[in-house]
């Protein structure tokens, strides 16, 4: 299993929204891409934000002291042993407390479709040794996966 965090290269993102589509599709139950685009059953958990000249894909930061995990009344949100905040979708009751307490506005609840979305760092893909969907799909490499084990080597090579 890969361990690490997603880093954003601030100046490389040009808001193509590939990460958004790839994120939603990789978490969706639908296997056919065209079916998915017509009738999406999942919202992206990474969202492109543009403020003036600054464009950034905003995603969950997997905080060290997460307020969403503390407030969640059903313990659907929890921090696992790899410091990833994961969500058990079946346990979520959609109360929206995490939406209010999150300081970065990351969790989202779609009340019409009854879908809760929050980045889980593509934990299923990480277990298979793959990169998260947003990182893999980013055409300009604005999103990077920073692996914890390689930390020392990377610093040296710089």
């Amino acid at each position: 299993m890969k361990k690490g965090k997603i880093l954003i290269d601030f100046e490389r993102c040009f808001a193509c929204k590939t990460c958004e589509i790839e994120c939603a599709f990789s978490h969706s139950q639908e296997k056919d891409f065209f079916q998915f685009i017509e009738n999406p059953d999942r919202m992206p958990s990474v969202r492109i934000k543009k403020i003036g000249q600054y464009i950034t894909p905003l995603r969950c930061l997997h905080c060290d002291f997460p307020s969403c995990v503390v407030i969640c009344p059903t313990k659907a949100l929890k921090k696992d042993e790899n410091k990833i905040i994961i969500i058990e979708n079946e346990k979520c009751v959609g109360c929206g407390m995490c939406v209010v307490v999150c300081p970065y506005g990351v969790p989202h609840i779609n009340r019409d479709k009854k879908i809760y979305t929050k980045c889980d760092l593509c934990i299923e893909r990480l277990k298979d040794g793959q990169l998260p969907a947003c990182v893999l799909s980013c055409p300009n490499k604005a999103l990077k996966f920073f692996e914890f084990e390689e930390k020392n080597e990377k610093v040296r090579s710089r």
Binding site: K49, V93, G96, R111
Partner: protein
């Protein structure tokens, strides 16, 4: 913990004592339809759709799998003829009450139900998810069941207005047939069916109304009366704030300058 050996759909399995049949079935990926079950809420056994047939001491009987704890060696059939017959009947009765709506429609299509008792147009199947989530998880008790028999319904106190409701929307999120709906009209949040009328808080930055005032009060109480700015800013603005902070950091303390 003690273990018991059971036979479920012909498969032998050792399970811990007092686990419910539904949980075992879900582990084994056996599909059992449910309407009133939610993993975070105590099983309530109202919809009866999760009925299965068990054989205990050479006697067969039907039980609801969501709230039947396995105590001794039993044989479980989750999908045989009798079970399907019972589920079809329950679905026919549900359709006679509420018609084809939401999850009822989904399951009825799966079971090819032909309703013999007509198609009704009520708005509640009395699954109790909204009442139980409000009581157990949120702890507010804004709504409950009222009346008996055919008049039984989910309603706010005395059928008037849900004064204790904090407007979190968990009931609307869980309602299997989509009766409870949340409508945000400018400064008011109206929740249909449970008759709640809540004032919304204005976002400090963009001025959009986004979350009920009572809900913020509730969260403040829950974490011990802490006054935080993040509660009063809508999630769009929170994201923008964060990016502005990132931007100023990259200009001053970042790599280029």
């Amino acid at each position: 913990m003690e273990n018991v050996e059971i036979i479920i759909d012909g498969v032998r399995k050792v399970v811990p004592k007092r686990i419910t049949i539904l949980k075992v079935a879900q582990e084994l990926k056996i599909e059992i339809p449910t309407l009133c079950y939610h993993p975070a809420i105590e099983p309530y056994g109202a919809c009866r759709l999760c009925t299965v047939e068990i054989e205990k001491n050479n006697r067969k009987m039907f039980v609801t799998s969501c709230n039947y704890p396995i105590e001794n060696e039993i044989k479980i059939e989750t999908n045989n003829e009798n079970v399907i017959k019972i589920r079809k009947l329950i679905l026919e009765l549900l359709i006679a009450k509420v018609g084809y709506k939401g999850k009822v429609k989904e399951i009825a299509e799966k079971y090819n139900v032909e309703p013999r008792f007509g198609v009704g147009d009520d708005d509640c199947i009395l699954c109790g998810l909204c009442v139980n989530v409000c009581k157990e998880i949120i702890g507010v008790n804004a709504i409950s069941f009222s009346s008996r028999g055919i008049n039984r319904d989910v309603s706010p106190p005395f059928g008037k207005e849900a004064v204790d409701c904090i407007g979190c929307g968990a009931c609307a999120f869980l309602c299997p047939i989509g009766t409870i709906k949340i409508e945000d009209l400018n400064e008011k949040r109206i929740i249909t069916k449970i008759n709640a009328n809540l004032e919304l808080e204005k976002c400090k930055i963009c001025g959009k109304y986004f979350v009920p005032k009572k809900f913020i009060e509730y969260i403040k109480n829950k974490i011990g009366n802490v006054e935080l700015d993040v509660f009063l800013i809508c999630d769009e603005c929170k994201g923008e704030n964060y990016i502005k902070r990132l931007a100023s950091f990259s200009l001053t303390g970042g790599k280029n300058e």
